[in-house]
Amino acid sequence: MKLWKKISLICGSVLIVIVTICSAILLGQTQRKILSLTYEQAAEKQKTLAFSFTETANHFYEEDDSEAVAYALLHYCFSRIADSSAVLRVGEETVYSQIGIRPEEYLLPEEFQGQQQYSGKIDGRHILIVGSTENLLGSPDKPCEIYIVEDITPVYENLTKVLWQFILIGAACIMVGLLFIIILVRRSLRPLAMLQASASHIAAGNYHERTKVCSGDEVGMLASDFNRMTEAVEKHINELTDKNKRQELFIGGVTHEFKTPLTALLLNIDTLQNTYMEEEERSLFLEHMERQCKWLERLVQKLLKLITLGQKLDLKRTAVSELLEKVQESVAENLRAREVILEVHCKTEMLTLDADLMQSVLVNLVDNAIKASAKGQTVVLAAYDNVLEVRDQGIGIEQEELAHITEPFYMVDKSRSKKQGGVGLGLALVKEIVKAHGALLEMESSPGIGTTVRIHFTGQ
């Protein structure tokens, strides 16, 4: 069952119960009031009748009247003041009555102590009887009974009418109330429906979807939390997708890089097996194959390094000047061969780093700088303010290339790099090592002017 139906049902039930209880209480009170009013009126009427009759009868009383005269006189006096509902009985005899009901059957005169009442159904009609016993002058032994017998059926009929009116009005109230409840509940639940629609969109993969609910209530709060959650999900999904894409590219690169030397190797083996060649040609082929194998080995080594990096970082406070000296030693031969000058400036004493890995980073960067430099140009290796810097005046790199050069297997000049034995992983490794140190790699370059690479050690 839907929420709006549930809430409407609960509210409707409560409404029905309340309306019913209220109506019942109100109806009961009305009934009691009307009935007691009717009784009071009848009692008053009887009292007045009894009083007037006693007065009149006493006034006309004479001691020597015969019994017949006395009865006639009483009948006369009573008939003068009584209406059709009155009944007079004297000493077990009905003196005056215009109705078929015998009230003495319902009220017992012996027990009369002042006024008495009876109400009940007689012959299918609601009858109210009020009676009293009065002692008249000259007849103390024969008390006279005065009754008022009223048919109060119309009162009951009116009450039934009122009951029906109450039921109708109550039902109408409940109907209207229910209608309002349903409308209000649906309106206040509309944000939830919108939220639900958004959620199902998002579940279908539209992570950029946001719900537009902005009410100030709990639903509004839920909506804003929901939006925050979606944002987090979107961010994570994007990150994962990105990572996946990068990994795919990397694997694609690895596959391509392996395929080429493997193709060459297979071709060479095939040729050696199936082709007639002179001895020196044969050894030429074997040399080729050796070169390819070595290249593959270097590729595997670098890949292994790249993959296992970060698991075995050996961070120590290291004297920067010693580190730079070691780098200088490693690149010395290359410098001589290409006739490039290396300047070293060291203004930082200690840095926390993995000396071996950072040395390979710097050697890599300096080697790249040497390759980019022409004969006689200067490469600067400097350390200052938690920064290690390698700067050259070489050919430089185009801006759009710069963004890609740390990607695995990216080579600016592929055939030249390959001839120099590069596998296209050097700068990718540099980037990973720097990242593992928590440091920042910054590269600036303009073609014809040179390239500057800085490693910023943060938090030292």
């Binding site: 596959t255 297979l266 055939s415």
Partner: protein, 223 residues
């Protein structure tokens, strides 16, 4: 008709060198370029090639761009690439390339495809030379030192296959297939009998070498 001339554009020397040497041994002529642009520039001067082997990922100009030059000079193209995704395959073949070969491939596959493309485009050289012998496969004539020699048809065909694959091992199955067709399930020793006859008649005992468990090879000794 001179030997077929083949253009190789491949940036990886280890591959292009091997292919070039193999082509040379079999008797093709070739040119190698490691850069798409350089190849395109050379074509402006000299475009008498019977076939081009193109890598797709090339410095200078990629293989697809180079294709338009090949089209211009009516040179059939076989792509060789490590790109295995079907997208580039579809693109390559829709552009009109004759064939497509994915690295890593076997030399024999490449050679067979080269032969097929050359035959399909009617450019295949039907005249094979070995020492002082000239075999014309089209007119079915064989001369040795200028003198015409008559051989029975099957022996002529065996010699023709060996000469076409000069210096390369040819398996008995391949000889059988090339001469009798793929559906022939004959005795493989029929090949041995024909080869023995050819050896004896043309005095090629040393040159036609038996490669154990495989087949035969017509070796051109250069010393």
């Amino acid at each position: 008709m001179a030997a077929n001339r083949i253009l190789i554009v491949e940036d990886d020397f280890s591959i292009s060198d091997t292919i070039a040497l193999n082509l040379k041994y079999v008797g093709y002529e070739y040119m190698v370029f490691d850069d798409g642009r350089k190849a395109a520039e050379y074509l402006l001067k000299d475009h008498s090639f019977d076939l081009a082997l193109l890598d797709i990922m090339l410095p200078g100009m990629d293989g697809f761009a180079l294709f338009s030059y090949m089209e211009k000079y009516n040179i059939p193209v076989i792509y060789m690439t490590a790109k295995t995704d079907s997208e580039s395959e579809v693109r390559g073949l829709r552009d009109g390339a004759e064939d497509y070969i994915v690295k890593p491939f076997e030399m024999v596959t490449l050679l067979v495809r080269i032969e097929k493309v050359l035959a399909r485009t009617g450019r295949i050289n039907q005249i094979y030379r070995f020492q002082d012998m000239i075999l014309d496969a089209e007119n079915r004539t064989l001369t040795k030192a200028g003198e015409e020699i008559k051989l029975p048809p099957l022996e002529f065909d065996v010699l023709s296959v060996l000469m076409r694959n000069k210096n390369r091992t040819v398996s008995r199955e391949r000889i059988l297939n090339e001469i009798w067709g793929e559906d022939y399930f004959g005795d493989i020793r029929t090949v041995d009998v024909r080869v023995a006859n050819v050896r004896k008649k043309l005095n090629l005992t040393d040159e036609i070498r038996t490669i154990s468990k495989t087949g035969y090879r017509l070796e051109e000794h250069r010393k």
